[in-house]
Symmetry: C2
Subunit: 324 residues, 2 copies
């Protein structure tokens, strides 16, 4: 069988994860990595090209996996690239997803391409489970807990505090809340009360520890109102213990099947590497995108629109025999 | 909007669950319950008819939910009814699913109907999660643990033992095994070692307790080789504490996103009522079946073939806005 040819656009954490993850899928092959930077200055394991050359690969790439940032890159790159290529992205700006969808749908339908958006785990697999759980049990309450996991945005915010040399910030769900939900008990949920923030940081020489701590816990949006725990360490320890990018979380629905009976529906992830797992999800959806394009099912698609069988390289017969 | 009209075939635990569950879905309405028994002798909450009258409802039912037993009823009823109606079943004889599929697919395509088979939770949602987890992480190992849950088959087997008046048998996964898998540790898994059997029974008057216990633990297939715990109680306690039909379980994949990094993908259910939850799943797939039939996507379908969005009564726009 002919392999599905993949292009990676953007070589950050996610792009590296896709490059590594493709090795586990013999039905897919990597044509190249496309970057806005000087390609020869990236340490890639596979051929890298300037993004300006992408158009030359029009006929040798079946699906592009877009690995740019959701903030600035995807809103520009995705609609442009969907004019020429089938695409998959992990766009995670939840509020803007409807706009992103409409924009991509128009471009993709006009140009007969498939644009799969907002894959990954949240949005992505978490969304899928929220939908399935609610569709099955219309009566009930869905809770999402994030972490324990490294938050890039919060780590950056701590690093910007005067007196901080380096930092890692973890979002940690409060175990007693999660346990209560799993135990079918009612809880009052809001994001702030349900999570705590755990900070590890290295001080600049001569920095005032108590001022640094005060600056962190009073930071609006990021830390204010959260239970926050700050630990000071030296750079070596930070390097040794806090270099990974673990993440995960849990989606739980407490549903009522009747007034008397409750059902707990639970989906959880515990990831050593957030970008590698996110990449693994995009790879499966890239396989789906290639198939949808072959079937001429053009337009924008989300995880809600794609039958799960499309994600697997196995035949429907084999899937029924082995996994149903 | 016109409601989707549902018929229930067979009024056992599952049929009752569907009748109750339909109340939570205002986009669906129950046309009637169809039984092989005398309809006026069933205590239904809704109109009940003899199954012989089903054909008269050809034009007033959009989807039949088949609630017969997998052992004897579904293999006969499903292919016959799929000639005339769109159907959903929860057929759970895993080894025979491929044959059941082929048979239904032929009938459904010839007669332009949709036949959704083997919904529920195992097969059903568990299968869906096995597929998604493996498609995303081709390298890894998937574990299924069943329970804690009441096993009808094992309870029946205990009740057939000489000296036993009444009994309930629960299948319970061994916590330390489940925890090890969640903790990313390797385990040697086989179904017998991973589960224990917990029996509550009422003795007949004058029965020999030790002989009864011996007969149970030495029963081949059912108990032999399993860690089994037997508790003797009186009928009142059994009636009070063991009348429900709880069940559930967990599907866990330990996947490797790279050689260094592991991801735990976990899906779990904890159900006060197995038949009510199974019913809730069939109801969502009945909604999907009606839509597929409208789109003329005829033939047999499994949970692998149906885009998740079809399960929900909400519009794609609303789903993207609220749940993605
Ligand atoms: N849906 C989900 O569950 C989920 C989960 C995780 C992440 N995400 C999304 O994935 C997006 C990408 O995440 P990421 O961790 O890969 O972001 P990142 O490492 O910051 O990379 C983003 C882009 O920045 C450029 N870049 C990377 N390293 C650079 C460097 N040293 N100097 C200059 N430019 C550099 C790359 O583009 P060029 O190669 O073109 O320069 C890259 O594509 C995030 O914005 C997030 O929204 C989604
Ligand atoms: N996929 C999954 O996850 C899943 C989970 C749970 C169950 N299931 C499947 O669902 C099937 C049905 O389960 P169930 O618990 O509803 O079985 P059940 O209570 O034994 O009912 C099966 C059929 O037996 C008849 N019946 C019920 N009560 C009766 C009575 N008192 N006397 C005579 N006949 C009676 C009914 O047909 P009539 O009304 O026509 O007589 C009914 O449709 C099981 O076989 C199982 O395979 C699947």
């Amino acid at each position: 069988m002919k392999k599905t040819r993949i292009g990676i656009v953007g070589y950050g954490n996610l792009g590296k994860g896709v490059e590594a993850g493709l090795k586990h899928s013999p039905d897919l092959e990597l044509t190249g990595i496309f970057t806005r930077r000087q390609p020869d200055q990236l340490e890639t394991l596979s051929p890298a090209y300037s993004i300006d050359k992408l158009i030359d690969f029009k006929n040798s790439i079946d699906v592009l996996i877009l690995c740019g940032g959701s903030q600035k890159d995807i809103p520009l790159q995705a609609p442009e690239l969907a004019q020429t290529f089938n695409t998959v992205d992990t766009y995670d700006n939840h509020n803007e997803i409807p706009v992103h969808f409409e924009r991509l749908d128009k471009v993709a339908k006009e140009n007969k391409t498939v644009a799969v958006l907002s894959t990954g785990w949240d949005p992505g697999l978490f969304s899928l489970n929220r939908l399935i759980a609610e569709a099955i049990m219309p009566k009930g309450e869905t809770y999402t807990f994030w972490g324990p996991g490294l938050s890039q945005g919060h780590s950056d915010a701590v690093r910007r505090v005067k007196g901080v040399k380096n930092a890692a910030q973890y979002t940690v769900p409060k175990k007693e809340r999660v346990d209560k939900v799993k135990d079918k008990q009612p809880i009052h949920y809001n994001k702030k009360e349900a999570h705590k923030r755990v900070v590890y940081l290295v001080l600049e020489e001569g920095a005032d520890e108590s001022k640094v701590k005060e600056a962190i816990i009073s930071m609006p949006d990021y830390f204010q109102g959260y239970e926050t725990k700050i630990t000071i360490l030296d750079q070596d320890t930070l390097d040794k213990d806090h270099q990974g990018m673990p993440h995960g979380g849990t989606v739980i629905r407490q549903g009522k099947t009747t007034d008397e009976n409750t059902a707990i529906y639970q989906f959880g992830l515990d990831l050593d590497s957030n970008p590698e797992f996110t990449a693994a999800v995009t790879i499966a959806y890239a396989r789906a995108a290639a198939r949808l394009a072959k079937e001429r099912q053009y337009g924008a698609k989300t995880v809600f629109d794609i039958a799960p069988g499309y994600l697997s390289p196995e035949s429907p017969e084999d899937l029924r025999r082995k996994l149903l």
